[in-house]
């Protein structure tokens, strides 16, 4: 191995898959080998069987749909508010001076700690679930977008001025297009965090969703179902991440050449 030397695509895929297999192997070894009680950790086979039951008998697809809708809904609401605000903060320093101190404070407030309050305010319905995702995402997105927009290359802004761009044209024609790829990257990152908030939101006061199913399984001591639920979350995360990356590559071909 040489430092910083690139690795070929097939070898990269093989190595990446290798770790998954190693992980599965170890899991199988400790469960099938009898080193761990089935009560505490189900085997890969049991987890798969539990998953089958979940889909066929307990309408797990409905739970997944519920959770995806909550994540996407809360996240989109947050992005819809946070991206424009972040762009304005990055572009206009007085706007930044007004919002930045509060948002820097608010983004350290743990979204999960708001759950009891939100239940009080919004009940245990969908509004409360969306609010948790929204609160967990919105401040993070604002800060990240503001930093990205504020880092727009000065010489590009100056070039636009000498070409006759004025006022808000700088925001529209320089800052937004320059920031767009990094803003999308930031959204991809925050969407990943949103997935952790939704499960927390569903662990408390929910009648559906992947988190609710995991909570139910705990009462039945069904570790197979719990593990299957966790793995499904991981897989959905992997797929959305992949889709996001593919979308960014398509949208911003100029940035990835």
């Amino acid at each position: 191995m040489e430092p910083l030397k690139p690795v070929s695509a097939p070898l990269r895929a093989a190595l990446g898959l290798g770790f998954f297999l190693l992980f599965l192997g170890l899991w199988g070894l400790v469960t099938y080998g009898g080193y761990v009680q089935p009560l505490f950790l189900a085997s890969p086979g049991q987890a798969l069987a539990a998953g089958w039951t979940l889909f066929t008998e307990y309408n797990f697809a409905g739970d997944i749909g519920m959770t995806v809708w909550r994540v996407v809904g809360g996240f989109l609401l947050a992005a819809l508010l946070a991206v424009p605000l972040g762009l304005l903060m990055g572009a206009y320093k007085p706007v930044e001076a007004f919002f930045e101190p509060f948002i820097s404070f608010a983004r350290y407030l743990p979204a999960s700690a708001f759950i009891p309050l939100l239940i009080l305010w919004a009940g245990v319905g969908e509004a409360q679930k969306l609010s948790v995702i929204f609160l967990g995402s919105v401040f993070q997105i604002v800060i990240m977008v503001a930093v990205i927009a504020g880092g727009t290359r000065r010489d590009l802004v100056e070039a636009a001025y000498t070409l006759g761009t004025k006022g808000s044209g700088i925001l529209r024609r320089v800052i937004i297009p320059a920031a767009a790829p990094q803003v999308m990257e930031a959204l991809r990152l925050v969407l990943g965090w949103a997935w952790t908030y939704v499960i927390v939101a569903e662990l408390i006061g929910a009648q559906s969703g992947i988190g609710h199913m995991i909570m139910d399984s705990q009462r039945l001591l069904d570790t197979g179902q719990m593990i299957f639920g966790i793995v499904v979350i991981g897989l959905i995360g992997l797929v959305t991440d992949f889709l996001f990356k593919a979308l960014n590559r398509r949208l911003f071909r100029w940035a990835a050449l």
């Binding site: 290359r153 010489d155 590009l156 100056e158 070039a159 636009a160 001025y161 000498t162 070409l163 006759g164 761009t165 044209g169 024609r173 320089v174 297009p177 320059a178 767009a180 911003f252 071909r253 100029w254 940035a255 050449l257």
Partner: protein
């Protein structure tokens, strides 16, 4: 005069308790319509500051800049600029970059297309219209930047060491290209140009007139007319008159470089 600069000064406020820096001593400067003036000076002499004030990107502490009778108070499309750094918009293709200023003026599509095509041809960019800036060499990027500035039909072209980051050979080609698009063989069509450089050969080769700036705080310490006829090509650089001008300018600037180096 196309451009008149009167008593222009610039002082940068001191940072962290340091004394303020005087970057530009009271400077006067006149550029006639269609004239090509080089400003030659050591690094940090304030020549870029002077150009940025003319562009409206920096504000003077005192004095004034007048372009064709109008006082300059901020940046505008009447003063086109090419920077030393590569400032093409990376999300736009070569052609879209060249159209940037035309779109700002809301010209009809046909006129934009026609103008862009003309400057693409003139700067040797045919076949690269749909390339992204990232796909271009430094020389090609600066050609595009030049075409983008010219397509906007500015009253004066401000060039801030536009070839400073290019290798020597590319640089010489670009100098010839610049003279061509400036209109070295068509005196009636020439743009007014203010060109900042620290390269003596480049300053002489391009300009009607070379202004030498002193070390910081900058002022115009000498003015040398370049009587070499246009059109010029690279062979001019080996002519005896060129050598004599170069010797004179080297004498002027050596002293300033030494002062700048000793602080």
């Amino acid at each position: 005069m196309a451009l008149s600069v009167r008593g222009l000064t610039r002082t940068f406020p001191g940072q962290g308790g340091n004394a303020p820096t005087l970057a530009l001593q009271p400077t006067d400067l006149d550029v006639a319509p269609g004239e090509f003036v080089s400003i030659l000076g050591p690094s940090g002499c304030g020549k870029s500051t002077l150009l940025r004030i003319v562009a409206g990107l920096d504000r003077p502490t005192g004095g004034s800049v007048t372009l064709n009778g109008r006082r300059v108070s901020g940046p505008g499309p009447d003063r086109g600029m090419v920077f030393q750094s590569y400032t093409l918009f990376p999300w736009l293709t070569v052609e879209q970059n060249i159209r940037f200023g035309l779109r700002e003026r809301k010209l009809p599509e046909a006129e934009m297309r026609e103008t862009a095509a003309r400057f693409i041809a003139r700067t040797g960019l045919r076949g690269f219209e749909n390339h992204w800036p990232r796909q271009l060499s430094g020389g090609m990027q600066q050609r595009t930047a030049l075409a983008r500035a010219l397509a906007n039909d500015p009253e004066i072209l401000l060039l801030d060491e536009p070839f400073g980051a290019l290798d020597h050979q590319t640089r010489e080609l670009m100098q010839e290209l610049l003279l061509e698009v400036w209109g070295s063989d068509r005196p009636e069509a020439r743009k007014t140009v203010l060109f900042v450089t620290h390269d003596i050969d480049e300053a002489i080769f391009l300009a009607n007139r070379v202004l030498v700036m002193s070390a910081r705080p900058g002022r115009v310490k000498a003015e040398v007319a370049v009587p070499l006829p246009y059109p010029r090509d690279w062979t001019v650089k080996t002519a005896p008159e060129f050598g004599a001008l170069k010797a004179r300018l080297m004498g002027e600037i050596r002293e300033e470089v030494r002062k700048a180096a000793l602080g």
